[in-house]
Amino acid sequence: MLDAAYHALLLILEPMRLAIMFGGVLLGLALGVIPGLGGIVGLALLIPFTYHMDAPSAFALLLGMASVTTVSDFIPAVLFGVPGTVGAAATVLDGYPMAQQGKAARAFGAGYAASLAGGIFGALVLGLAIPILRPLVLYLGSAELLAFCIFGLSMVAVLSGKAPMRGLTAAALGLMLSMVGSDPETGTQRWTFDTLYLWDHLPLVPATLGLFAVPELAEMAVRRNFLKGDAKALMSQATQWDGVRDALKSWKLILRCSGLGALLGAIPGIGSAVIDWIAYGHALQTEKNTEGFGHGDVRGVIAAESSNNAKEGGHLVPTIAFGVPAGASMALLLSAFLLHGFQPGPDMLTKHLDVTYSIVWTLTLSHIMGALICLAASGLFAKLALIRVGLLVPSVLAIILLGAFNGSQSWGDLYSVAIFGGLGWAMKQLNWPRPPLILGLVLGSMFERYLFITQQLFGWSALSRPVVAVVLLGAAYVVLRPVVLSTRRIFNNRQALAMGWIAPRWNWNAGFAALLLAIVVHALVISTDWPDHAQIVPQAAGFAALLFGFGVLITEAFGQRRNPMALAKKIGLAVGHEPQAAPGEGPAKAHTKQERARAWRFFLWLAGALIAATLIGVLPGLAMAIFVIAWREFGEPAKRAGLLTLGMSLFFWLVFDRIFSTPWPDSFLGDVWPWLRAATGLV
């Protein structure tokens, strides 16, 4: 084994191959920065180029590209609150506030160091596990996969912070949303309202961008500044090396989160979008003094980034050992293997062991290259935080919309990002935790599939399988610990806590809860028409949502504590008007009337951009939106707005139309003048 590893290292270190890998790394870094584009797009682009390369070079290029998208997805997450890939959503929670405090460079340093450590750890795990790769993956059957799904869902408890009921409602809602589409058991169209778009389930990219990126952008548009207070002074002081030092101090956290990332990455079905949340939740649970999480605690960044990168190594485990891709980009990589005559399976671990090791080395070296390049350039990137808000907001809005559009390249993606954007904004303002919703959305349908398979094949005896039992106990611990702790707190303070019932009063929170309840009831009514098997899990999720949502409604509308603020702080319970309920939730201080008006206008502009896109095409519509928003809303001089529009439009056209051949959907203009569509392909 060792000489195969050594031989593979020599193969990789050939100058030509290193150069090819470097090219792949540059492309991967570029792709990671642009939200919505990820490894899968790059792979589709590069695979044809590898037809005439030998295998180690081909993998150097492809893996060099695919493995570093999770290094650079960090940059827009910190600077703009826009996750570059779905795995960077948790990074936004702490990285973005750090940038707002002028500590962007420090965040970069910590993030890259964590990415590097995570990436190398993931490669290490892969390399060391090679002898036991096949028995390991074989050991994990459908029952075990179900247990891991449940473990992932249990993280909802941690990520709900101090608002457990709202978190549980959000998670139940996410579960229901993940059931939208065609049901595997019976083929029933669940909640698709006869559209083809919803047949295949809600794409993740628009939902993530809408829930996490749009509210941050809206906040920036409302506050009209990016950097807070004397942050400008701080910017010159905090350097990225401080960040690297932070990462080194938290080496134990990095180790744990990387381990979690690599392990979960190896399990087919646990999508990239949840692994960083699980690691973040783990950090919340195990670190001391987690009050600052969600407001710029560097450990949040470290936890999310190290796991985000370690999972890449994990993803390769089932892909190489069995040809079971742990995600869409792995599926592409698989076809690249087959193209070069390599059958994933026992051969890769025996006859072609050196190729497998060259993959491990590529992973390691490309991460090092990627992190070093980013570290070197991070000073440059941090300066982007100084751009005027009037230019930043329209551009980032257009980037978000285009990134969302790449979800499945249809109009539905744009509506989806707008709707999730509104939902995300409401949740952020009202202290409803958003990570549980994403967890439910990602894990829900996987959970349902494996529930049915496990029930049919094993029944209750699944519980007696060792891995299942251990993982479920872990999940129970994660869920029960906060419940037990807060129950104890309530019990000890029960006198002071006595609630007085008052006449029902109205507030936004109660209204929001009522609206959600109405939607859930409507959805449940629709579901009664479905065949029995198709109803079980959606209705269970629906009733859970009703239960918890009703609880929220009651406490908001009717409950009034005798000494609200002080008590709440003392016992750590969430009350509607407390500043921080869950990590990253809630505005720092309430909005003024002018700011509220700006918020409404922001969403009107968003809707306007979509209408423009429907009428004159996606790229022309976005161009118009950028110009009008910069000029009218932010008062930029027309010439500057025009230049911005020109620059951004050119960039979009080159990247999305020329390079990636994005199939643009049909707009009204192209319907009316088909020759225009034929001539430009843009309308």
Binding site: I40, L43, A44, P48, V137, L138, G141, S142, S182, D183, P184, E185, T186, G187, L196, Y197, W199, D200, P268, G269, P318, F322, G323, V324, P325, A328, A331, L332, L334, S335, L338, L339, G341, Q343, G345, P346, D347, S408, Q409, S410, M446, E448, R449, Y450, F452, I453, Q456, L457, S661, P663, D666, W673, P674, W675, L676, A678
Partner: protein, 338 residues
């Protein structure tokens, strides 16, 4: 800006956007310097995508004017989205055609999808295929009779996918005792479940996929091929032919209806109403490409089966399918589990 300038600008603008004068072009002239789009109904990396990208790589060379042939993925609803796009929305100028799942042509019959596959301008199919039911070597299910009598645990992906369709056919038309365990995310996960011993086997595995993705299963004698289902022409596969196991004429007609799609396993079609001269050019180019030595060599390297099926044959099969009596269609619909 005064009125003169405004008028000039307006006129200039109108001149720029005025529709170009239509002029009759020969097919050769039309394809010169043109981009031809190939719409692929499945995602990158799968079987249909591999075939389409291979075709796109070589087809431009066999067309006058050497146009650039660009593959474009349009996934959704099991390739139904691409099929509907080609049927109604795609430009009918002969510069767009595409491929979708072989069973999509049955959707109008089974689920009322709103298009008529007979109206497509067909190019043909790159190959015909056979669908297999396989079991793992050391499972107790080793023969067709085992499959009928014992409670074999057969895997499935989703209602309407090939593994589920063929398992349902075995249960409804043949009265098999098998147990369908559906919900696996894909073929690879089912293969893993087989190796684990979680499942006994699964159906709906195409011969072409077996050759390209799981060669080691054949070479290493890791599986039993329990039955093959095709419209014929697959003598190299050593297994009983599913249609031969039926005697009842109505059941045979229903099964033949379903199996006709195997005869057009990698179908390529252009929108309805494309200019006949351009269609003739496309058809000729299609056939020339897949019969060319470069294409065959590459296909061999990828393990892709090639057995060309002409447009006329595809159209005949479709005419057959759509002229079956209502009771046969109803039985077929029930057999696939819809």
């Amino acid at each position: 800006m005064n009125m003169k300038h405004l008028r000039a600008t307006l006129l200039g603008f109108l001149a720029l956007i005025a529709p170009p004068m239509a002029r009759a072009q020969t097919p050769d002239e039309f394809y010169k310097d043109r981009t031809v789009n190939v719409i692929i109904g499945y995602s990158v990396g799968g079987g249909y995508d591999l075939y389409a990208r291979l075709l796109s790589r070589f087809m431009g060379d066999h067309m006058p004017g050497k146009p650039t042939v660009v593959p474009q993925n349009m996934t959704g609803a099991g390739s139904l989205k691409a099929a509907l796009y080609l049927a109604a929305i795609a430009p009918k100028d002969g510069a767009t055609f595409g491929t979708f799942g072989r069973s999509v042509v049955l959707e109008p019959l089974f689920s009322g999808a709103k298009f008529d596959p007979r109206k497509y301008s067909w190019l043909g199919s790159i190959t015909a295929d056979s669908s297999l039911c396989v079991s793992w070597a050391d499972s107790p299910i080793k023969t067709w009779d085992d499959l009928m009598t014992k409670q074999a645990r057969m895997g499935g992906q989703a209602n309407g996918s090939d593994p589920d369709v063929y398992a349902n056919i075995l249960k409804t038309l043949f009265g098999s005792n098998l147990r369908l365990v559906t919900g696996y995310p894909g073929n690879n996960e089912m293969a893993l479940a087989l190796e684990r011993g979680e499942l006994d086997g699964f159906c709906g595995l195409s011969w072409s996929s077996l050759l390209s993705r799981h060669r080691d299963w054949i070479d290493g004698h890791k599986i039993n091929i329990l039955v093959k289902a095709s419209a014929g022409g697959d003598d190299q596969i050593v297994a009983p032919q599913m249609l031969d196991k039926l005697t009842d004429p109505k059941k045979r007609a229903a099964l033949s209806l379903i199996l006709a799609t195997q005869a057009m396993a990698r179908p390529y079609a252009a929108p309805p109403g494309v200019d006949p001269a351009r269609m003739a050019l496309l058809r000729r180019a299609f056939m020339d490409t897949i019969n060319s030595p470069e294409f065959r060599a590459e296909a061999d390297k990828l393990g892709l089966d090639v057995a060309p099926v002409a447009a006329a044959e595809v159209e005949k099969r479709l005419a057959d399918i759509y002229s079956q009596p209502a009771d046969v269609v109803a039985l077929a619909k029930q057999a696939v589990g819809q």
